[in-house]
């Protein structure tokens, strides 16, 4: 056998040209300027002028006002956000194949009851409207969804509705938009250069801010708060948390003593909370983004024989069942799975050439411990996200009631 020195030299010779060649191939244009944010996309944000800005802005603030009312908040300032009307005339089209529209739906997939309800609501609404659905499941994984979107786009649907699993899909969404397919982002969002015509979602900042403001109000602006977020690196968790931390930073009396992740798992949340009980005996409130997490938190405090501090989260039936009849104080809102219905409506409006907003922020119910009896569904499954707009019969068919 040959000596190794020659060998590794040879391997290195091979690696270097590979690296250099590839890099050279990648650099098409070599400017020192940063490419503009709109480089990869078109049609997002409606260009330079914000059309019909006042009315659009009013509709944005409406969701905030309503949430503030429902949670009894005196002071809920909408985060700065420019909402505009988009002229969709360029997207108006007859069905590409046959008489019915084919709408592609890149869904999360049935990894939990949210995903299940989300796609069932979409399908049944599509049936009502008489449109055909091309479906793909990401199984909760952004990498899988990248392939899904490419695949759906290659089947040339009339429109594409995407429930984004992460920002990793941005490039593929841009590609679909550049291919002439109107894209509607649903229950989640991407950067402003995604090329999507419209984003239809419950606003993360609204949830994060409202929970935080409710907590501040409950505590009278004074006290120790723990922040329990969902899963590290996932936009749903990180954006809500960032909004909350901003609110807490504005209140000097509030001290955020710890930030932890619950992975949206009651088991993990319970272990985290059991730690809180011992480590921060004087904890005054818990900001959490999920009802599943709250389930574990409540159990941990109850088992330790301590009063549960006021907490926040999204409304899941299991949590309501668990705290009904107790003196646990909570402020809940919702990230309703049924928002997919509005996503489909928006997609249909785009195809009809009707003006839509570039960001449709869903208005959905918020409530506190005082209204629990209105919302709890004792006869339904733990996994039901309340309040559900699906008819009971359909919920029963899904095993959710």
């Amino acid at each position: 056998m040959r000596t190794h020195i020659g060998v590794s030299g040879r391997a290195r010779q091979l690696r270097l040209p590979l690296a250099v060649g590839l890099a050279a191939a990648l650099v098409a244009a070599c400017g020192t300027e940063q490419e503009g944010a709109s480089a990869g996309g078109e049609g997002g944000g409606g260009g330079g002028d914000c059309a019909n800005a006042e009315e659009a802005q009013a509709s944005y603030e409406e969701a905030w006002t309503e949430t503030a009312e429902q949670l009894g908040l005196e002071d809920l300032q909408p985060t700065a956000e420019e909402v505009c009307e988009v002229d969709t005339a360029e997207w108006a089209a007859e069905p590409k194949q046959g008489d019915t529209y084919r709408i592609a739906f890149a869904a999360q997939g049935p990894t939990n009851s949210w995903g299940l309800t989300n796609e069932e609501a979409f399908r049944s609404h599509a049936e009502e409207l008489g449109v055909e659905v091309l479906y793909a499941s990401a199984n909760g994984d952004a990498t899988a969804q990248v392939d899904n979107i490419q695949q759906l786009a290659s089947q040339d649907p009339d429109a594409l509705v995407v429930v984004p699993m992460g920002e990793g899909i941005t490039g593929q969404v841009q590609a679909a938009a550049n291919q002439g397919i109107p894209v509607v982002l649903c229950a989640g969002r991407l950067g402003s250069d995604s090329g999507a015509v419209s984003t239809v979602t419950r606003q993360y900042e609204l949830l994060g801010t409202a929970y935080a403001e409710w907590l501040v109000q409950q505590l009278g602006g004074e006290g120790q708060v723990a922040v329990l977020s969902g899963l590290a690196g996932v936009p749903t968790a990180e954006f809500q948390k960032a909004a909350a931390l901003e609110v807490f930073a504005e209140h000097p009396g509030i001290e955020v003593v710890t930030e932890q992740y619950t992975e949206w798992s009651p088991t993990v949340a319970k272990q985290v909370a059991a730690n809180l009980v011992t480590q921060y005996p004087d904890l005054d409130g818990i900001w959490s983004d999920s009802g599943y997490g709250d389930l574990g938190v409540v159990q941990a405090y109850q088992e330790a024989g301590k009063p549960v501090p006021p907490l926040t989260g999204d409304a899941i039936n299991a949590f309501l069942k668990a705290v009904q009849g107790t003196d646990v104080r909570f402020g809940l809102s919702s990230f309703p799975p049924e928002q997919s219905v509005e996503c489909l409506d928006t997609a249909m409006s785009v195809l009809a050439g009707e003006p839509v907003l570039d960001k449709v922020y869903i208005n959905s119910p918020s409530f506190t411990h005082e209204q629990i009896d209105q919302y709890v569904r004792p006869e339904c499954s733990d996994n039901l996200f309340v309040p559900s707009s699906l008819p009971d019969e359909q919920l029963r068919g899904l095993g959710l009631c």
Binding site: N112, L116, T117, A232, E263, P266, Q271, Q279, A318
Partner: protein, 345 residues
């Protein structure tokens, strides 16, 4: 990886050896690295998180020890025969789903549900064992395949949203205490003692070590190594069912996120304790030490309020450090021999 074809010369069983002063010393030394690590962490905890030494935290650590420990014992058995079990997380998830769907919260149906869960676990373990023993599939691949498959079964069966509740009758197993110590810790203790006795004091244990150290030679001497290997996979799956029951009792809900994660804590615990990946090397005592170390570490990181990044970094560093220490003379095995054994595996 885990699969050992080391030179026969290096494969003397390092398992339970004849009683005597040297053996005892060797045993004590092999526990030294994890115990030293434990001492370091306890010290760090004392400095950084003053509240660490309270009964509340102790309870929590003991619970963690119980939960990780039960699966780690099963994992140790599989590692000892040169395998690895990646399907543990999926079996835990499957158990909670079976309990919830079958009982629908009715405590009277709990007994049958537990039997069903045990049967399902046994089937998974048997499939793993058969693939490894009969089809000679690497354990890593076989158990990863069953992990994906079981996860698929759960999704197809429940459509992602399992209905039904966990009966309250199960909750003492997860949340109960006896003599102030959480029940899961007692369960772990019992499991570890039984496994320790079987491994260290019985003929079965000796055959198990021999199988892991050199299956071919052991088979030639008349031991039915296939049964032993398959048995270890079944035992691991059954212990995963037990862990699933503890988990179900602890939280009282089907936690959909649990079955979807490839739970490597059991492997990490065994390895930190010093159980070899190539089979035939390691004792339950080491696994217990590894479990305690890992549980204390996790609790400390949580107390510290470390971010997700820092937690991962520390876990990775501890695993690396533990194995490094074990390989560099803290234990009576010579590093040179280890290099031959594990260096390329």
């Amino acid at each position: 990886m885990t699969t050992g074809t080391r030179p026969v010369a290096a494969s003397a069983p390092a398992g339970p050896s004849a009683p005597g002063g040297r053996a005892l010393l060797r045993r004590a030394l092999s526990l030294l690295a994890p115990l030293a690590g434990l001492a370091v962490i306890l010290l760090l905890a004392a400095v950084t998180t003053p509240g660490f030494y309270s009964t509340g935290v102790l309870q929590l650590v003991l619970f963690q020890i119980g939960l990780i420990g039960v699966t780690a014992v099963g994992q140790t058995l599989v590692l000892l025969v040169g395998g690895i079990d990646l399907s543990i997380g999926a079996v835990i998830g499957l158990t909670t789903v079976i309990i919830a769907v079958y009982t629908r919260g009715d405590g009277a149906r709990l007994g049958v549900a537990i039997l069903l869960a045990l049967a399902a676990g046994a089937v998974v373990g048997l499939v793993n064992g058969l693939l490894v023993v009969r089809r000679l599939v690497p354990a890593f691949v076989a158990t990863f395949a069953t992990f994906v498959l079981v996860q698929g079964v759960i999704t197809a069966w429940t459509r992602g949203a399992p209905s039904g509740n966990i009966p309250g009758a199960l909750s003492p197993l997860g949340t109960g205490r006896w003599l102030g110590v959480p029940v899961p810790a007692w369960v772990f203790l019992a499991v570890a003692v039984v496994a320790g006795i079987v491994l260290g004091r019985t003929g079965l244990g000796r055959r198990l070590y021999a199988t892991g150290a050199n299956a071919r030679a052991t088979a030639l001497s008349g031991v039915r190594t296939g049964w032993i290997i398959a048995g270890c996979f079944v035992a691991s799956a059954l212990l995963a069912v037990l862990a699933g029951l503890i988990n179900a009792g602890y939280i009282g809900y089907v936690d959909a996120r649990l079955s979807r994660s490839l739970d490597l804590n059991s492997v990490a615990a065994a390895v930190i304790g010093g159980v070899g990946l190539t089979g035939g090397r390691g004792r339950i005592g080491q696994t217990v030490a590894g479990v305690v170390l890992l549980a204390v570490l996790l609790a400390w990181l949580r107390q510290l309020g470390a971010g997700a990044g820092a937690q991962l970094i520390v876990s990775g560093a501890v695993i690396l450090l533990a194995v490094w220490l074990q390989n560099s003379g803290w234990t009576p095995r010579s590093p040179r021999r280890n290099k031959q054994r594990d260096g390329v595996r």
